[in-house]
Symmetry: C2
Amino acid sequence: MVERGSAHLDDVFHALAHPVRRDILRRIARREHTIGELARPFDMSLEAVSKHVQVLERAHLLERSRRGREHYCRLDPAPLQDAAKVLAGLARLWNRRLDALEALLADIQKEN
Amino acid sequence: MVERGSAHLDDVFHALAHPVRRDILRRIARREHTIGELARPFDMSLEAVSKHVQVLERAHLLERSRRGREHYCRLDPAPLQDAAKVLAGLARLWNRRLDALEALLADIQKEN
DNA sequence: TTATAATTCAACCATATGGTTGAACGTGGA
DNA sequence: TCCACGTTCAACCATATGGTTGAATTATAA
């Protein structure tokens, strides 16, 4: 298990915070794509898409393998689990707060 | 059900992409805090923390109620479900096994 | 009323982000 | 070899971000 700190989570959530990058993730989740294939649908330069791919790579959400002159990109889903754990942790804390409130209400009703 | 578009997701993921803001979320998930209480543990100005609170508010992750001169902040967990759906969607598209993630997300969605 | 406390607002600064363009790099095909 | 192709790199630009400080706002307390 790789040690992943707060800075890694920063990168993962930052990478997810742009619609172009989320779209890229959806496409490489289905199958590998080259940079050119990824860029084609967007109304922006290939260089801009290449930068978005680098942001995803820095977050370790995207893995690249060079075959010849083409770079094939595929999803690395592991960091998604780290992100999901953050959301699950917050949900768990929130539920605990609800539980505490319900316990308090139960106590109040017992007294009457 | 409020219509939430891509721009809203941008805000949510951006809000989650800073350790100070994730820490604030964890604390307000347990109980309400004032801005001053939220700022105290951090080695930065209260104004800076106030800005972080505003980022969370823009993402609708934080609700504020003014009581007297104090502003009480509590978690609004609804946008976390939108974020979780993105992760779940990616996991579903990915054509290899990802049971652990799906279990985590199921836990989140059980709430509400 | 006056002073103080909790918070925001406004201005400013350094750095990051998201985009562009043009040049360079590495590979494959003629 | 030479050239075209896929991609990155470098420079640049406008705007956003994350922090600061000092002034303004609003509510409580004396």
